[in-house]
Symmetry: C2
Subunit: 289 residues, 2 copies
Amino acid sequence: MGPVGVFDSGMGGLTVLRELRRRLPAEDLLYFGDTARVPYGTKGARTVRAFARQDADFLVARGAKLVVVACNTASAFAIDDLRAALPVPVLDVIAPGVATALARTRGGPVGIVATRGTVESGRYQQLLAAEIGEARVVARPCPLFVPLAEEGLLDHPVTRRMAEEYLAPLREAGVDTLILGCTHYPLLKGVIGEVMGPDVALVDSAEALSVAAAQELTRRGLRRPEGAGRAAARNEGRIEFYLSDLPWKFREVGALFLGRPIDEVHTVNVNEAAWDGGLAGIPARKETP
Amino acid sequence: MGPVGVFDSGMGGLTVLRELRRRLPAEDLLYFGDTARVPYGTKGARTVRAFARQDADFLVARGAKLVVVACNTASAFAIDDLRAALPVPVLDVIAPGVATALARTRGGPVGIVATRGTVESGRYQQLLAAEIGEARVVARPCPLFVPLAEEGLLDHPVTRRMAEEYLAPLREAGVDTLILGCTHYPLLKGVIGEVMGPDVALVDSAEALSVAAAQELTRRGLRRPEGAGRAAARNEGRIEFYLSDLPWKFREVGALFLGRPIDEVHTVNVNEAAWDGGLAGIPARKETP
């Protein structure tokens, strides 16, 4: 009964971790953020695939019974590799987002906003087109959304202006549903929602992903039983944070994404690893940010 | 008589390479951009120091007779380590920038704009304060300038708006000289100059650094002789590009920074390396972007 492992290119996956904590209060959660090599969304497929494999191996080596790929770019490029290679089930963030969008659309086109890597991979587009046809799928890279979210400019004129520019083709196409295809983007939901208008459903994959994780654990008999009342409180699972770099402004950014402060992290020095062997087995160092 | 090696966290150092090519036409130049792990400016000192050491080792292993640290953040955190460790001379980008600013200032405060890492390191501030006193030094991190430059938004309303916000404290302080303390920032010189006004001297370290490199080579008897007239043209040195990732939009971004197209690059897979041994000795793969 090990922890549920979650990895992301950096801090964005904390929005997924937050949902998992809500949905699965009794589970131990193990987070790895590859903050030393973030972002993945601007980088090529081969690089992302190699990094994702190392990240996942790290979680498995630390006992993860399920690996959740919180990063959309890693999901887009690496999910097949990871499923083939890992000895535990692997969930990606794209399939639940697509399923939610298909349930929410009222027949109009479905839009996707994501990193350049995720859009170039064509993964969202393929899954959606298989159900509703290519003509009803519109994808758009929004490369500045990640740094804007990481800088905490959630409600800044510059963020609004970029949102207007990035989202214009999606508005023109008349999408009725928009997938936020990057774990950073839920932080910008306010601005994106205002620009798209109240009739467009915004799909944040984190919630759908946490439902999928709960189902997967139950189906495989891996789910940790929850208590009730005071027993439930005593039964709350632990969360452990591992990062490959302790970035500047970690306290502010981490709390922003997770929705509460992070008091303790472990750092894993990616440079001490024999990389063909992955990150597993590297001693981690405990730090107070 | 090996090449002059230049490394940067990514593509920004191509602005330095361009100046070196102009100043030292006969030299062979070898560029390494750590595009798989870019940016460095948001990351912690320990991580930057480890990456910088690997980057420099790679250049030395490929025969560099001089290593130029084009990245300000790597210069800020790693220059002492690199000088102690490498068997060849090492030039950083900070000292020439400071020297140029001191020559240009007319007695007013000197400003520095840079990544968060470079500002936090205090390196520019220390070097300047030693000459003109702490009270006349103003530093300001501009974290969004790197992604804005990489997106090619050189003359965009969003870039102007961020410049106004970031530069306001420098204008209020009345700086008469402003160091562009990140290799990406020269691309934004137009907007920065307009916001600061015509009376503020903008210092781009690349030119001063190329002068320092020429002097260092001459002083050590390492400079390759230049021809004259038609001989000079025949005598032009080669440039070789090595990157750890071939990023999306490489053609556009590379040409933007270098000032001309890049037709061929070699990629070095950082994941194939035994990292305690650095990147040296990894087979590179030739690619046409």
